[in-house]
Amino acid sequence: MPETAITTVSDAELRWQLMIRRIIHLLLPIVVMVPFLCEIDMPGKPSPLVKQIYYDLEALEPGSVVLFSLDFDPGSQAELAPMTVAALRQCFKNDLHPIVMTHWFSGLGLHKRLLEETAEEFAPDKKSGRDYVLLGFRPGGQSVILSMGDSITGAFDKDYYGKITEGMDALKDVDSLRDIDYALVLSAGGTIDGMWIPYGSDRYGFPIGAGCTAVMAPDLYPFEQSKQITGIIGGLRGAADYEVLVGAPDDATSAMAAQSFAHLYIIGLVIVANIEEFVRKRSKKRE
């Protein structure tokens, strides 16, 4: 059995490490806050993956139905709420009919607020049931999608507000998922590659655009290359790109300077740590 090297760290060294950690923690919110306080604006150019989703929605005829699966909760609202609002604005502007549902009940109150506030602010003439629908939540994950593949009004016989969905104007041309013109899945975990692609688009043949937290984005690239999704809106940068495309810079765009500063801060920490490591190694060699 190999011998395990036990390194003892002195109390002073522990204290030093704790202090360094606290300084790093203390500086981070300051770095994030400075661009807000100094009102630094730093919009960027949209990426092709985000543009693809934007152009997909632009290409739809007025009256087309866009399914929004908002599979996130307040834990990731900072990343996903801005892209939800931007995409909803685009739908309202182009007279598309968004149908909003979720697999995450813990975010339902947030989704309701986002939909209602966006409709009220940017399309006060739009009415629930006629121009958009908040289907709400049903438990079951894949089963909900399969059930919607049979009949959307069957899976959600009542909307979030308790109104019967059968016969709603916004759903009059839509019987099942096969009739959906586009699905935008904005997810904080698992529902794009675990549910909507295998049980939804691959089975019923509707196009999917994926909006996701930045943590999830690297896992979705294989699906974009295989054309199982049409594009990726990844994290807050993706949301900022979408806001720029929609022509309504908002929360995500104004956060880009703070995001940039924080990334530079972390890259700086990595560089300092590696210089320290290099110096330590060299002095060890000399000894």
Binding site: V144, L146, P218, G235
Partner: protein
């Protein structure tokens, strides 16, 4: 007892076989079966949510009953849950049957307690990732160096300041026009060069690795499904006889 131990195993196999066959039989009857099963599972899963809630409350109740360390905090779990459920039942005086009142106590508690707590809880990780970047992100060998370079490219390429940096660089290069022309026309450098580089890392090596991992996971999932169908994997049966 056969109906406690063996019949569920037979049922798993038969239902699994049915699910398997429905994917290969393009017939309306097969579609009907899928539809009926989807609708049924939707109802069964609704009951399953109570099991989750029960286990959580049971854990906290046990902690209170045994007066384990920090048991008083567990009382707050009950306080939060009770207030929220009571507000939901009260529903601004309309009771539990009508839809949830839009500006009721329930919505207020959700907006002002659950939303900030949930959002803050996850944002705390930003601090840990910053200190981890300093403490552990060190190029001690080639593998660590590759990881570090990829991370820095992605971190820098993803933020808009990278576009500003390139523009500033080009502005400086413009002081010596041949150099500027070489960079812009010869090398084809634009302000999104770092973004493109980050995209290349994501769309080529990252994607290849993720696809390799995904294929491995898919093969593992299929073998796990077969183990379940043939009764080798039985953990879902729980304990007891």
């Amino acid at each position: 007892m056969w109906y406690k131990r063996y019949l569920p195993l037979v049922l798993v196999f038969l239902i699994g076989l049915l699910g398997f066959l429905t994917q290969y039989i393009p017939h309306w009857g097969s579609e009907e079966v899928v539809s009926y099963m989807a609708r049924s599972l939707l109802i069964i899963v609704a009951f399953a949510m109570f099991i989750g809630a029960y286990s959580l409350l049971h854990m906290h109740l046990t902690r209170i009953r045994r007066q384990q360390a920090g048991w008083a905090y567990s009382l707050l779990v009950f306080v939060g849950a009770t207030v929220m459920i009571a507000a939901g039942l009260y529903n601004e005086g309309t009771g539990p049957m009508p839809p949830l009142a839009p500006r009721g106590i329930n919505t207020w508690l959700y907006d002002h307690v659950q939303v900030p707590c949930s959002a803050t809880m996850f944002s705390i990780l930003a601090f840990f990732i910053a200190s981890a970047a300093y403490r552990t992100f060190r190029a001690k060998n080639l593998n660590a160096l590759l990881l570090l370079i990829a991370a820095v490219i992605v971190m820098f390429g993803q933020v808009t300041i990278s576009e500003r940096f390139v523009n500033w660089g080009l502005y400086v290069a413009n002081l010596f026009p041949p150099l500027h022309d070489f960079i812009v026309d010869g090398l084809g450098v634009t302000d999104t060069i770092f973004r493109k580089l980050a995209h290349f890392v994501m769309a080529a090596p990252n994607m290849a690795a993720k696809r390799g991992i995904m294929l491995g996971i898919a093969l593992g999932a299929i073998s796990q499904s077969l183990r379940i169908l043939f009764g080798i994997e039985r953990s879902y049966m729980g304990g007891g006889d």
